[in-house]
Structure formats: C-alpha cells, structure tokens
Symmetry: C2
C-alpha cells in the first residue's frame, strides 16, 4: 500500500486580514495551492482559521474534498504552566491517516508550520515512523524581516520570545548583544503584539548606542514597514509600534 | 520627487533547473511576479541567471521593460583572501536609481537575497540613506529545511559554512552541539555541494549518537528529500548525498 506523506503547507503572512481583498494566488505559489487543494486530511493550529484559509484556496484552486467534508484535527496545546509535554501517543494518533496511506496536511495560522510556531513534534513523530515529510514553498516572516533589515544574513539566531520580567529581559538582551558582537551573529526575537512597544523600549534601553536594531511588521501586506538604524538614531527619533500585528526585532552589535 | 524603493525579489529554489518545465507562477506568488515585472533597474548576484529568471517572469507576467532594455548591475564580489571590505562608495553607486526616484530590484541566484546570500550591505546602505526597503513574498530553503526537520523551530541558529579543515570542523561541530544542548537551539549549516558527503561524514563522526541530525536537499522540486533521524540511526544506515545541489544540515542535541 502507498504510504501517506506529511505535507507542511505554508499559510499567508497576513493572518487573513487581507482575506476579502487578495486572491490567494497573489500570496502563495500555484504549486502550493494545488497540493493544498488535493488534501482531505489536516492537522492545524486553529480549525477556524484553517477553514477560512481553505475557502480562500478553493476560490482559486477547487478543493478535491469540499471544506465541510475535510477531516481536520487541531494540534494539542502545550499543558499550561509547567514543562509537562504531550504524550507520544497523542502525536501518533494525529498521524493515523498516514498509516491508511493518506497524505496529511499541517497548517499554521500564518507562515510555515513548525518554525516559530507549533508543529515540530508532529513532524518529528512522522520521521520516527519513517513517513516522508514534504514542505511546500511559502514565505516565513522571520526571514523576510532579516532580509529587509540589512543586518548580517550569513549568521543569525532566532531566539523566540524574551523574558517578560524587566530585569531578566534586559539581562537577556545584553547577553545576546555580546554574542552578536563576538560572533557577528544577528539576533532575532518576536513578541506578542500588545507588548511590541514595551519590547522596543527595552531594546533601546539595553542595547549599546552603536548597535543596529531593525523592526519589521506587516511584511507582504500594503502596510509593510521596516526600520533599520543605529540604536543612537532610534533614541534620537523614536518610532511607535502599533500592537495590532506581530513585529519582528533584529539586532546586531557593531564589531 | 517620489523616492525610489529597494525591493528584495525572491528567486525560486531550483537554481533554474526546472526552468523549462515549471511556469513561474507555480513557484512564486502572483504579487511577487507583478512587482518584479514592473522593475526596470536591478542589482543582481549574477546577471546571466537574473536574465534567465526575468524571462521566466515575462512568460507569465509581461515585463514593463523588455529584458534587453533592463539596467542591470552585479553585486561586487568580496575581495579574495582577506577581510578587506568593499568601499561604501561602491554601494552608494549601486543605489543611484533610488536617488532618481526609480525602484530598484535586488535578486539572488536562488531564494531570498541577503539571507545566506550576498546583498545585506546594499540593504544596509539603503537604510542609511533613508530609502524604503520592501521584501516580496518567497521561500527560503533554510527555513523550509528547518520546518521539514521536525527539530526545535522556536529557537535556531544559522551558522553558514563550517571550517573546511577537519580538526577545526570537528571542534566547531562539537561546540555548536554543546550550545544546542544547553540552549535547546537547533544549529543549521550549509555546504558547497561537492563537499556535502564530507560534511555529512564529519557530522556523523563528531556528534553524539543521541543527537538528532536532519539533511534536506532539492526542496520544492520533484526530487525534494529530507531525512531526520538520531545520529545512531544515520550511522547504522548511512545515506549518500549527491554533490549536484546544495544541502542543508540541521542538528539538535538531546536534552
């Protein structure tokens, strides 16, 4: 029997905001839309937004199985407060369609699944069971932000979220700035949108004035914005960051 | 006068190999093709492959300026052997169209410019001169490989190339493995294709048997391949890596 494949399907970067306006082939390549339209079984970060995405797919590339007929499971959320992990059996159960020879799609709310987003445990389980894993072409906001920053793109680290507590956050920013200086490595972090402004201020307070800081938001949309400048310039002429969309923060110490 | 914008244009990941076969809207979103087709001035990694790319664009989205009428400059190559950098005046000269109010495209041979590829100095100069920088939507092979690996995608570092000399390379691999263990950070490296097999063997010799290693190649093409497994499993059942295309190597130490 043919073995199913786990297929990582990129979502757009607009969180469906431009949903009504832009046809989906404006934002994703045709090959990605065709492969997504062929899938009947899905594991998704959020079922509601996944159905909205698949309706947008259907409008440019008719789905093989209508939206209401799709088999869709949500990724389990990590148990609150604590390091308890999700039992392997749960990942195995989500992969059941693969064992029946069916391809299974994995979809996030934005961008690529399993990068700065949940899903890597499911991918790891698929590899452990010897299933083929494919990624379709699509954009990642982290990497677009790095490209737009003009900072070192031959060596960079994505850190994820910084500590929320002010002292720990400053210490972490300085530690990463030191590494950036020593290794010439751009450091990249993200933040929950409503804390965008607070993180920007923390970075401007903690980084040295000769370091470079870049902030990007709403990339690939009509509101796309990137500012990349020395910390001294940011301080002299501050920007305010709206809290409606994720922002991506990159910094690089001067050599 | 309207100020020009520096527009980062993603290329496909197939190095033009699938050129004859796949129409370009199969591989890149329409909005990217439209924006690329509107540009008359370019800075590119390689003029020959850039013209081939723009002919592929033209076939699905007619160019505003025919290929032979495009103004195209190549990115300067870093001076050989030595840390001498390219003088600022050269970057300024490349940006001349922006000062005339013209948009300027930046294009690599594959994937996104300025990420694991030249171009970031040009982007940095554009920011210094206060020009707007935009990135169009497109894929990066690094991030697709990370997604397909199932390794930690909430914290990762792209290292670039490892040392070629065997002792230095092993030492560097072990150092990065230690960081990976301490920080839970996936480490990602690339290699010149003809050294793919040598790097794979070096990784299998230097990494601990409980660490995870993932190798991807030819992503988004019909030959796409990812293997992600424990080092012990790779050793028991080796894979051989062809040297015809770049491969991406990711590893993560067990906690």
């Amino acid at each position: 029997m043919r073995r199913g494949r786990l297929i990582l399907v990129p979502n757009t970067l607009d969180f469906g905001i431009a949903g009504a306006a832009a046809p989906l082939d404006d934002l994703l390549p045709r090959s990605t839309l065709r492969a997504a339209a062929a899938l009947s079984h899905w594991v998704v970060e959020n079922a509601k937004s996944a159905r909205a995405f698949l309706k947008r797919v259907d409008a440019v590339q008719p789905l093989a199985t209508p939206v209401q007929g799709l088999q869709m499971q949500e990724l389990p959320r990590p148990p609150k407060g604590g390091k308890a992990s999700i039992p392997t059996e749960q990942w195995q159960a989500l992969l059941a369609p693969l064992r029946q020879g069916l391809d299974l799609g994995l979809l996030s709310e934005a961008g690529l699944p399993a990068v700065a987003d949940p899903g890597s445990n499911l991918v790891a389980q698929a590899h452990r069971e010897g299933f083929e894993v494919l990624t379709l072409a699509g954009a990642s906001s982290l990497v677009l932000a790095l490209a737009a920053s003009g900072l070192q793109g031959q060596s960079f680290a994505f850190i994820g979220y910084l500590p929320v507590e002010a002292t720990a956050r400053s210490a972490r920013i300085r530690e990463l700035e030191q590494r950036s200086r020593k290794e010439g490595q751009t450091q990249i972090a993200i933040e929950t949108p409503y804390r965008n402004q607070a993180l920007l201020e923390a970075l401007l307070a903690a980084l040295q004035e000769g370091s470079q800081l870049s902030v990007s938001r709403a990339l690939t949309t009509a509101e796309a914005w990137t500012r990349s400048a020395r910390v001294a310039d940011w301080r002299r002429q501050p920007s305010s960051l709206p809290g409606d969309q994720p922002a991506i923060f990159s910094w690089l110490a001067s050599a």
